[in-house]
Amino acid sequence: MALNLITTRSLERLFNKKPIPGLVSVEGWQRGCIDRINYYSKMLNESIKGNELLENKSVEELITECGMSPSKRNIANYASLLYNLEFSISSLKDTNNDSSTSNGDAPLLKEKPTKFSLLETPDLSLDFNNEPRFTAHTLLQNAIESSFSSMVQFRTLLLNSNMAISGDGFTWLVARIYKPKIQTMNNQMVDDIKYDKLFVFNTYNAGSPFIMNKSNLINNLEKEYKRLEKEKTQNNDSNSQSNVSKSASSYYNEILSSEEIKKIAFNDTTYAPLLAIDASPKFWLYDYGVFGKKEYLNRIWDSIDWSIVESRLPQKYELKYD
């Protein structure tokens, strides 16, 4: 369902995308973005080589179709990395309001942050340079404020979530698309894509916002594991009752045994990505240095193009009592 919202962009368009002045330098863009796109697509092409069925599929299809299969892990991983990176840079804009000065290699940091930046007192001012309402994107502004209480809370949550990723990963702003059962009664309503709330979450390494139903996979693995253990104990000792792994797996049993919960939580719900932020040093190390992640995130915030984010926002779902 979420796939309908994503326009599949061709990679050529991406290669033509200029570095973002005020965020990364030309060299930083080459190393943090172009080189990575080249590398990921090379690895992806290698892993689907010879498989005609997969070769004709879009990156999004590869993620959703291979994402749950351990044997196709490589394919899903590189497709996902490619998608995530592309998505994260697609909503960035030039931070210099004066576009006449941007000549490609825009003024960046004069100096990279040093170890003393770790000791700086946090800036407590609540005035941000970049908010959706400044560019008259009130729909988005209202959506964010109703889901996260305020813009301040949203910005804090978004940037701190990214700060907390210690390795590679992405922080996402997503809209939860929820299809109530009633709608399926009426054929006209089925195609309506509506969201009820916005969320922020992290994915790590090649994790994807399209693969949210991991618990199904874990559940199946658990069943398979129990079967194998049972066979083993029966072979070893036919008298022994199978009480294998009861304590360890009770957590999963409690949550996942109920089919009802699964249906509500997963079957009718998808998450449409609106915005992604790359946490990997591959993107920021060249321009910001070892101590520069915080500064990078501040500048990312200033570079968010809210008009693109808003254009991805589905219709709001509202309960009507008439």
Binding site: G67, G289, V290
Partner: protein, 264 residues
């Protein structure tokens, strides 16, 4: 007098983590570690990244019961506490990075009359053959290939010696530690996992939850440590150059350091 000084030294034990002093640090900063790291690359992975880790670790532990611990003890102490993962990550990275830089330090060539040899000891080579069933030179290619498939993001490669004195290759995701197997972090949980990996995780889970005394014994010790984080190779090799970097590291290890780490 004696008693007084003893007391004093216990009370004011240092609680600040600082970058360990390496021999010839000035020439290392100027020349790097050829052919593995340029001077810029060395500055990033050691002078800056290690300083970053030490400062962050100091700030994360100051004023807590962990403040007088060494990174090694912080690792063991926080490995079992999911709510202290941030501290565990910093301590583990600090410790791992020190092991890494030590085993790639350039070997002092010695004077003409007394040449210092830099090669794996016979014990190491025979132990490798016993544990892996292949020669060290062949194993190196396997390691590089495995790092590429197993470590998609950041991580560490660690060749360890277990309690049975066998050598094992560990591919630690992010800031996993070789010292405590439930926190090896060998599996990338963000991709689909197969039944073998799940069984492995489940076995560990059972071990941890069935262990009433809370003490899991793990006597694994690291022999070779390789930094596979971006801070180590990105500057010099670029995103696509990780294989080249690993190749250079594995072929230019400091065997004087590594041979001593092995149980004789």
């Amino acid at each position: 007098m004696f008693k007084k000084s003893m007391l004093k030294s216990t009370i004011i034990r240092r609680s600040i983590h600082t970058v360990p002093k390496l021999p010839n640090i000035n020439s290392l900063s100027k020349q790097g570690i050829p052919p593995i790291l340029s001077s810029k690359g060395f500055n990033t992975v050691w002078n800056q990244y290690q300083a970053y880790l030490c400062d962050q670790l100091t700030m994360a532990t100051a004023g807590t019961s962990l403040e007088s611990y060494y990174p090694f003890h912080i690792i063991l102490n926080t490995a079992k506490k999911p709510f202290q993962t941030n501290i565990f990550n910093l301590a583990s990275a600090t410790h791992n990075n020190h092991l890494f830089i030590e085993n790639i330090l350039p070997v002092d060539k010695g004077s003409n009359s007394q040449k210092v040899e830099n090669r794996p000891s016979d014990i190491f080579l025979s132990r490798i053959e016993m544990s892996f069933g292949k020669k060290w030179d062949d194993l190196k290619d396997n390691i590089i290939a495995d790092i590429n498939t197993k470590l998609l993001g950041q991580g560490w490669f660690c060749l360890v010696e277990n309690a049975q004195k066998q050598l094992q290759a560990l591919y630690l995701q992010n800031n996993g530690t070789p010292y405590y197997f439930p926190r090896n972090q060998l599996i990338d949980m963000n991709s689909a996992i197969n039944i073998d990996e799940f069984s492995y995780l489940q076995k560990i889970r059972e071990m941890v939850s069935n262990n009433k005394n809370g003490k899991i014994q793990d006597w694994t010790l690291p022999i070779i440590m390789i930094n596979v984080w971006d801070f180590a190779y990105l500057e010099d090799y670029g995103v696509a150059g990780r294989k080249k970097y690993l190749h250079n590291v594995l072929n230019n290890l400091n065997w004087n350091v590594i041979n001593k780490r092995l149980y004789n």
